[in-house]
Subunit: 210 residues, 2 copies
DNA sequence: CCAAAGAATGAATCAATATTCACTAATAGC
DNA sequence: GCTATTAGTGAATATTGATTCATTCTTTGG
């Protein structure tokens, strides 16, 4: 009898796994899942391609995990924004802004999470992600209706519409040509864009121009 | 001296080309560009794979042409809707509804036109398509502001936001699971969805609940 | 019917990647 | 240092589709 997994080894393996995950994230942020090739990920992580398969069942599984981690981060941010004090409308505005600004800061990743075609397992994660968002906004709208700052409406449908509206308002400008990092001018334009989207969304929700 | 291209031949070739185009459209409508393989298209069109290359330079070129044809059809519909009599708001509503309903009737095609990742040549067509839409809506918004039925705002930015909002409100629900043909219940839901989107958009634009 | 020219064919080739696996290196406990 | 066991490697293989091209079929004008 000889080899038995020891703590040191467990840590080393965990570190390697983590490194692979991070490099995958980097690749995706750079050019989407489509662009994240196993060979490139392996290179970045300083491991052999085969090693990746000792840590993850398949590329699909690896991607699904990265997707889950990335969306969880986004959802946490929005959840936090919705948990601040203030009226439902104010909190919704904060959350939408959070969402939009993050997406514009990392447009490729946002696009990958929102709209890039992905394998079935990853698509499953996306479904959960969408549902989570819709649920968050739905709850806030419900509160707004109770508070009286949002007119009566179907919260589920409005929240779906809301998520859709922001998502695509962002996917549009970001998806095709603009992959470069934001210049000053662009940053300014982005601020403008975010304001317009938020304004549009809040109006769409409340019917109140401000 | 012997063979010279005759009218009959010209027609026959044109017919074959047309048939290939139609079958490509079918394939795309069924599963997006990603899913439209040359071999499958050839099968549907009853030609050999090689034949496709006698009619089109490459897959990319074929796709670009199909894209152009498909978007032209969509743009014509919206243009027509915007050309009816009525206030700018009414005409915009009609146009948005037209857009949304068509997209929901052919969700996969809509998704392909709006958001599916495509080759550079096709992406170029998409850019033109987006610009055309933005231009149409922008003009209508400008008219609305002049008429006084839409508050003052940046027409370019609002129209971009508008296009984005609808597009993604539709891409969201349609992209993942629902590929099946609409059942009665779904049709009803779709009507509801379209109403909500339109309502949301018009409010976002005018700040008026109705 | 014939010869020249073009059109159509589809099996073979090429290309791009994911995945495997026979082999080597490292580790653990003695 | 030795051996059992697991980790790591990366060249070879498998897969999926686009594209090519030598060959066959059609058409045309005489």
């Amino acid at each position: 009898m000889a080899y038995r997994e020891t703590e040191k080894m467990r840590l080393r393996k965990a570190a390697a796994r983590q490194r692979i995950a991070e490099c995958t994230y980097e690749c995706v942020a750079e050019g989407g899942f489509r662009n994240a090739r196993i060979t490139r990920i392996a290179q970045l992580a300083n491991v052999a391609t085969g090693t990746i398969y000792r840590h993850f069942e398949s590329k699909e599984d690896l991607f699904a995990e990265i997707f889950r981690q990335a969306t969880q981060r986004e959802i946490d941010k929005v959840t936090k924004a919705l948990a601040t004090p203030g009226s439902a409308t104010e909190r919704l505005e904060k959350a939408l802004r959070q969402f939009a600004e993050r997406a514009l800061k990392g447009p490729v990743m946002a696009w990958s999470l929102i709209a890039e075609p992905v394998d079935p397992k990853v698509e499953e994660e996306r479904l959960a992600y969408r549902k989570a968002y819709a649920g968050l906004f739905e709850q806030a709208i419900r509160e707004g209706i109770e508070e009286g700052c949002i007119p009566d409406q179907n919260p589920r449908q409005s929240s779906t519409c809301l998520v859709g509206a922001i998502a695509e308002s962002l996917v549009g400008p970001l998806s095709p040509t603009q992959i470069g990092q934001a210049t000053e001018k662009e940053t300014e334009n982005n601020d403008q864009l975010v304001n317009t989207i938020i304004c549009f969304c809040i109006q769409g929700l409340t019917g109140t121009r401000r």
